[in-house]
Structure formats: structure tokens, C-alpha cells
Symmetry: C2
Subunit: 588 residues, 2 copies
Amino acid sequence: MTFQAPVRDIMFNIEHLSAWQEVSDLPAYQGIDQADVQAALEGFGRFCDEVIAPLAAEGDETGSHFDGQRVVMPAAHVEAFRQYQEMGWQTLAHPGEFGGMGLPRAAGAAATEMLNAADLSFGLCPLLTDGAIEALLLNGSDSQKDQYLEQLISGNWSGTMNLTEPQAGSDLGRVRSKAEPQADGTYAVSGTKIFITYGEHDLTENIIHLVLARTPDAPAGPKGLSLFIVPRYLLDADGNPGQRNAVNCVSIEHKLGVRASPTAVLEYDGATGFMVGEENRGLEYMFVMMRAARFAVGLQGVAVAERAYQHAVAYARERVQSRPVDGSSKDAATIIQHPDVRRMLMKMRALTEGGRALAMATAGFLDIAHHGTDAREATAMAEFLVPLVKGFCTERAVETASLGVQVHGGMGFIEETGVAQFYRDARILPIYEGTTAIQANDLLGRQVMRDGGETARRFAGMIADTAAELRKGSAAAQGIADGLDAARLAFEDSLAWMLETARQNPNAAFAGSVPFLMLTGNLAAGWQLGRSALAAEAKLQQGEDAGFMTQKIATALFFAQHILAECSTEKTRIVSGSASVLDAGFDI
Amino acid sequence: MTFQAPVRDIMFNIEHLSAWQEVSDLPAYQGIDQADVQAALEGFGRFCDEVIAPLAAEGDETGSHFDGQRVVMPAAHVEAFRQYQEMGWQTLAHPGEFGGMGLPRAAGAAATEMLNAADLSFGLCPLLTDGAIEALLLNGSDSQKDQYLEQLISGNWSGTMNLTEPQAGSDLGRVRSKAEPQADGTYAVSGTKIFITYGEHDLTENIIHLVLARTPDAPAGPKGLSLFIVPRYLLDADGNPGQRNAVNCVSIEHKLGVRASPTAVLEYDGATGFMVGEENRGLEYMFVMMRAARFAVGLQGVAVAERAYQHAVAYARERVQSRPVDGSSKDAATIIQHPDVRRMLMKMRALTEGGRALAMATAGFLDIAHHGTDAREATAMAEFLVPLVKGFCTERAVETASLGVQVHGGMGFIEETGVAQFYRDARILPIYEGTTAIQANDLLGRQVMRDGGETARRFAGMIADTAAELRKGSAAAQGIADGLDAARLAFEDSLAWMLETARQNPNAAFAGSVPFLMLTGNLAAGWQLGRSALAAEAKLQQGEDAGFMTQKIATALFFAQHILAECSTEKTRIVSGSASVLDAGFDI
């Protein structure tokens, strides 16, 4: 089954949801217009469809292998990565100053989604490299930028994030790796890092590890971590990979999914490292990189959902089974005609497009936060939305991939059909880069409590405005407004309860943190689909692309009636359900 | 991680939910008391814990293999199956007349759950044999019973169900296999059957295939199917396996889960078959067998959920990560102390125990339906509940297994941890023996519409009675009553809408059939947990086993607040969401 990058829908999202006008007026994006973005995404979409998507099943079957010293990638991946480098796709959303195309974040998000839809395992290498680029752009010294950025942006080298240790997963304060200062200003980094995605591979001529470790006199806990660049090969005088550094792959994991992506245990044994920024500020820098990575992992969720949806629709159009339930024919029908199959497909589509809409709107806020002149509100909104992109899109990806298996019936359980892989691959997404609970803690603790609910109320206010606009539209638009208003009220009630409860009884508040994240994620995605419907109704009136626009409205209405309807349940869980979480024992 | 069969909770369910008094008074079960059941289940529980559970991971890794002629099972499975036969565990819930222990269905259900929790792949062989036994008990001739039942009940031979063909999955009317009558009264059966669980293996000395096929003059469609016994080895004059029959395994599937269980493609090439019952009534007979099999697959759902829950609780007790959110300690805590981990564990437990309670209550109705003197109401209730057991428990098993991975964080994604297997294994459960949509069609079309909602209203009435009882109890009991009443009202509204809609607009009704099944399943399981809470409160007053009883009540309350709360969402989907399912197009 072939994959087709959803460029049409992505461009609709960029045009109508990503604050395109405001973003493209920013000094950082002068001279870039929508046609540039569309041309780049169409080209990259073709590459994803034709070169990457066909590798996914084979990469899953073959996997990456560790021969005791090196990690050997599937041969087809090596060749595809060579083409990816040659065509310069890593450069897409990075600054022109270091050789990038310099497109806005929404375009970068679109590229991340398309590549990961084609193959999550392949997409992880560029995704981590993007994160390393982001970290160096923000916190690297000028000479570090000169040494590493062009090679990373060209895709010649790849980047990694080295946070986790056996005793330090979600809790980075427990990191033990050491960094001893050397006479030449470098550091000798020692320790064991686990779960390092693309920590070792043969796709690029160098790998730039970004590593959290402690200097000898650093305070205990999270405020004693510094960030280090540890290249696999130290650079020679010309800036080329030279001497092998003292970092070695010990093993790679045998995983449920993303099997072509090597997940390494790395041993640092006095490896030469270069401090990034200031001592003891590593976690702070890492947070910036993590925010970018969390956003990207949310896009991976949209990606795998899109891939699963395309597969399911194609199968449902072909598979003939059982007569229509309405007795309209004595012959068996294609299963796409059966109401419950339509329901499953619509749920998959609504969750996919809702996730994409949320992510694209967030990309707009991120760009304004980053490059705008008065960025306070945009920054707060971007920080509010990122845990939703990560939490909502990845949880929904697991659900969507599972529905994709269900649409296939017994064939879905056979590995050769290909959809079981999406179900396996998707399962890591709500875990890595911070579990859903960690996202929910970020949302509740940092984005809601810290400003006393100000950003959350602004968010609700914008949604009320969108609903008011929708009320002026068609019957479908009014149906969407009904769903949005009911969900917003559930959110406001839950928010009030959280603000009241969190300080006096934090356990009760955090017992509802994930339901609160899911409620808010539903609402945020439904809101953006409401904005899509407004844009689509305007386009319809102009007589533009009626088929596409009608379906955008239908998807938004389905989301309002089937997904936003969950918000009342989440509210009940939050405001009435904390004691039954906390009081239970676990002794039977 | 070891498994411990939950005999304590199972006995509580048998005693309080399975209509034990009425069932044990049935003539079929004269002389059997609870102590007999408990002794049998404790013995079998130990066998599951010690012999079967340790095989699951290895069986998954090794898988079953087809060498071109025979299917080779993992060696450890062969040895364990020999012990299973020797100890006579297949006999547990089958009639004494053919060598069975003759225990009631609730005990049989408990055994099915425990064995499948230990290893779903292993459990499938006995499960299919149980189905074949059921079919022959009900519809076999006396000589067929004499020839096959003792050997099947002893576990010496195994049974299979041969329904599906490449063009006939859910829609058995499309079955094409042929059965040509022969001069000696036998039939020559030809055709290809796919997805045949344990269709070929080396665990038993014979395999008794039950096969749907058409006689030459049979009418087209589902009313032209007859049922045939096709033994792998024809019986000789002494009733022992003799000449090889013309049925051959062509291949086995490469599957997402249950990998030690061979799923065969069988080629029948004029194989000798013996008709069961009357010509053209095969589907009717198969339905009886399918009802038993659907009930058993629902139990597989409870089983894998229990296994996943035990793993998750054990990990959460050991894994130390992050400080408590309430600031009560500066040290990192075991993750079971974190509110969201408790929420996930409670959700797993509530879904597992709710499914078990529903299944055990259904077992009681099934026994009364089968052996009682005035069985009309019990039969209708059993038929109403079976699609819920299958649909609800299997969908929830996927969710519970997925939560089990989440509790483990990154370790959950590593295959060696063992919990990814449950996530893979569980995924077949909402598909085989009729997908969730097929269960929902059965519920809505046969169990609700056919009697104009009479059984459904009786079901709601019994729930109202339970809620009224709960209102006389503790604060927790009253909280459970609140949840039950709200969910029952959502059910009654949805039922009224369905009864009004289904005839005039079947597509609209069936667009909500799975939400209706999930609403009803939630309510049925919550009801049975409400009955558990009533029983537990009574026991508490008698001072019996306070720890266990308190936790039963806590689980019921959690279910009421976190799971029953979903019923309002399902109602919205049903009564307001059908047009947005049906009107959507799939052209973008």
C-alpha cells in the first residue's frame, strides 16, 4: 500500500491556522511566500512517498543490528539517507546563515510529519538532529556554531540527546554522569547513558552527542547539570572528523516498534566534551531542546495516525464483506459502506486532522514567540500548547493505529499487512521525550498554576470567540459551536477546580492531571478544527474546491460530536474522581 | 515477573455474582459445593502459575513453526501440554458422563481466565477444544458423542472451528467449501479455510476439525451451510487415530501476537467428513458454539488485563523515580506513590475486575439458561450479556495492556520486559470470534430489537434495584449508586432512541452500535461491581477480610466515577452523532 503525503491538507493548515500572515511578516522570514513553502513541501512529499515510505516495512523486518562494535543499519536506509543528505532536506526549516532554507516552523513541522508518516524509524534520526541544531543555535558559542551547525544542517552529521541513565528516567535530577575539567578547557565525560536514539549508526560520518553530566563541585539535583558536546569523532584542525572519542556503544535494545531506529546504551569513558553555555545551566538548555523535541514527537503522532488512516481507507474501499445493514442491496458491499467502519474511519480522520491542526497552530505561536517583537503572550500560549501537542497527539496516535488494525479485521493482525507495525511503532510516542503524565505535570504545574490560570483563561476566551463566529455560519458550523461551547465550559469548570485544589491538595489535583491534559487537548484540537471550518465555509462561498472544503467541515463536526463529547467525562474524572484514585490500596 | 492466579477474587465473584445458590441447586450440579470448586481452582491456579506462566515469553520468542508439512510447537509447550492432559485439566467444566469433572460454568470460566492469563497462546488450544465439545454435546449424534467426546474432554485430542475463507470473514454466507455425499454416508469435503487457530500442531494425537461447507444442492447464502466433523486422522475400528485424512496445512501466519499459537491455512481435498445434525443447519449449530467461544474470548480479555495489571503493580512498587508531587519528601519515591500512576493502576484494576464480574454473572445466567426448568428469561439475559462480555472485555483488554506498557515507561517498550507481549497479544481479541462491530450488531439487532427492548428494559430495572440497595449503604456505596443511576439513564435514553430509529433509519442506528455496546458494557460491568460492593459491605459488617473487602468497594467506586462517567459521552455519540458518521465523504 502506497503512502501519499497529505500536502493539500497541510497547506490548508499552514494558510489558515498557523498565523501565516503574521509569521511571514516577521523579519526572519522576509521574502518567503506560500508558493515557496508549497514547492518545498511538494518536493519533499514526493521524496517521502517514493523513497522513504517503501522502506518502512523492510526496515521493521530487518531492524538495526549491533555487531559488538558498530551498529549496522538496513542497507536500504543507508542509501535513502544518502539521498536525503544529497537533496538537502535536513536544511528545510533551519536558518540560511548556516546553509538552511530558512522556512517557517509550520513548514518544518509539515516536513517532520510527512517524513515520520513515511517511516517513523527513519524520521527519528533527522528529528534528533533538529533538536541538537536548536540547542546549539540557542546556547552554543560562536565557535561551536561554526564547528557544528553547517554539518548538522546539511545532514552530513547527526545529533543525539543523552539524558537518561538507568536510575534517571523522568527524573533528570538523578543523573550521575561526571565531567572533569581538563587543563585545555575541555571536560572528560564519564558515565552510562541509556535509551539513546540513533546513539550509534552508520548513516553519517560523525555523530554529535549532547550530554548532561555533572562537574565535580556541582550541586546535587537538577541544578547541578551541565550540557556538553561530545562528538563521536573529535574534529581535526580542518574541522573534519578525526580521532575517535572515548564513547562506545555497548548494546542496542530489542524493541516493540521503531525497530530500524537503533536505541543505544552508550558508555562514556573520559570522553572529550565541550561545555555548552554556562556551568550548571544544562537542564535549562535541555528544556529548550526538549520543548522542540516534544513538539516534534507530537508530530510523529499525527504522522503515524495519518499513515494508519490512509491504509485503513484504502483497505475499506477494496474489501467486500456482508450486505448493507439497511437492506439496500442483496449483494455484499465494500466495508466502507458499513456504518461502523465509517465511524472508525471518521474517528481516525478527525483525530489525525485535529492533531495536525493543533500542531500547525502551535507552530505559528512558536515562530512569533521566537522571532516576534512583543512575544510575551505568544510565548505563554506556545508553552501552554506544546504539552498538548505531545500528550494529545501521541495518545491519540496509539488509539488511531489501534483502530487501523480493527478496520482490517483478521488481516490487521498479520504482520505482512503492514498496519500492525503502526500499532507497534506508535506505542513509544506517549512515552519518550516525557510520558503523558510528565506533559500533564508541565501543563498543570508550569503553564496553568504559575500564572494563576491567566493563559488558560485567554485560551478559553479565544475559543469562545471562535464559537461565536461559528454560530453565524451553516447548521454544521452551529453544531461545531455547540460542541465547542460545551467542552469549553467543562474546561472552565475543571480549571477553576484545579486552581482551587492544586495548592491545598496537590495529590488530588495531580490525580486528574492526565484527564485535564486530555480534556484540554481535545478542546484545543476541536477549536482549531472549528477555525478550519470557518475558513472552509468562506472558501466554499467563493466556490473554491467544494469537495475538500465540505469534508473539512464534516470532519470538524464529527470531532465536535464524537471527540469533544469526551470532555464532560474528563471533567467528571477530575472534579469527582480524585479520592477514588488516591484512597485505593494495592494489596490484593 | 511471576504470575499469581487471582483465585481469591475469582471465588468472591463465584460466590456473590454467579447466582451460585440457584446454579448449585440445578440437577446438573447436584452434590457440588463451593469447596469443590475452590479446591479445583486452587489446584489449577498453581498449575497456571508454575507450569504455564513461565512459558509465555519463550513461546512468543520462539513461535510455532511450519516445516512445509507439520507445525512444530515450542518444545516447552509440548511438555506443558502433556502435563495439562495428564492432570486432566481439560475436563474441569465438562459433564461427568464423558469423563468430565462437571463443575458449573462459572468455574469453567475461572479456569479459562487463569490459563489464558498465564499464556494466551497456550490457552487457545483448550479454548477451541471446549467449543468443539460444546458443539458435539448439543448437536452430535450418540455415536459421534461416543467416538469423540471422551477423547476431547480428556485433552487427548483437540478441536478446531473452520469457518473463515478468504472471501468469507464476518460474512459466513459467502462460504464456498463443498461437501459431496458419498455412497457410505460420509461426505467428501473440499475447500480452503483460513485463520484456523491450532489448525495443525503436534500437541495431541488427533485434531477434530468442525467445518462449515455446502452440500451440492444447498441454497445460496447462510442457510445452505452444513456442519461436518473432519478428523485429521480417521478413526480405526477401535476408535483410535488411523488413516490420515485429506486435510493439509498449507502455511501458518506471521502474527503481531499470540505467536506460539499456530494460525493455519487448511486445504481440504476431498477429506472424509461426517455431518453433524441436519443438513443446512450448520450455521445455527455454529452459532451455539460461537456463543461459547465468544464468551471465552471475553474471558481472554479479562485474562490478559489481569496479567498486565499484576506486572504493572509489581513494577510500580519497585521503580523509584521523582519526588512526591505534594512535597512530602525530598527523596525520590516508588512510582506507585505518584497520583497518575495510581490512576493508571486503578483504571487497569477496575477494567479487569469489572470485566471479570460481568463474565461471572453471565456464567450464572448461561448455566440457568442451559439447565434450568424455566429458562426463558435467563436465556434472553445470557444472550444479551454475551456480546457485552466479548465486546467490552476485549476492547478494554487492549486499553489495559496499553496502560500496562505506559506504567513501565521506556522499559515497557523493550520486549524483554514482557509487557509489550500483552499489548501485542491483546490486539487480536476484539477481532476474532466476531469483531466488536459484529458483537454490536448482535446486541442491537438480535438482543435489543427483536423483543422490542423487553430484555434491555429488564436489565435496566435490575440495575435500578441494585442502585437502590446501594443507596442504603456507606458514602462509597452511595457514590457508586450515583454513577450507576446516571449511566442507566444514559442507557435508557439511548435505548429509546435506538428503538425509535433502528427500523426507520437502520444506518443511523448502526452508526452508533459500537458506542451503544460500550455504553451497555460499561453499565453491565459497573452494575456487577455495584453488586460486589453490596456483598463486600455485608462481609465487612461481619468483620470478614477487611482489607480485601475495602478494596472491592474502592474499585467499584473508581469504576463508577471514572468508567461509568463515559456513558454520557457514548450517549451523545449515539443520539447526536450519527449524521456526522454517515454524511462524511472519503475522497480527501
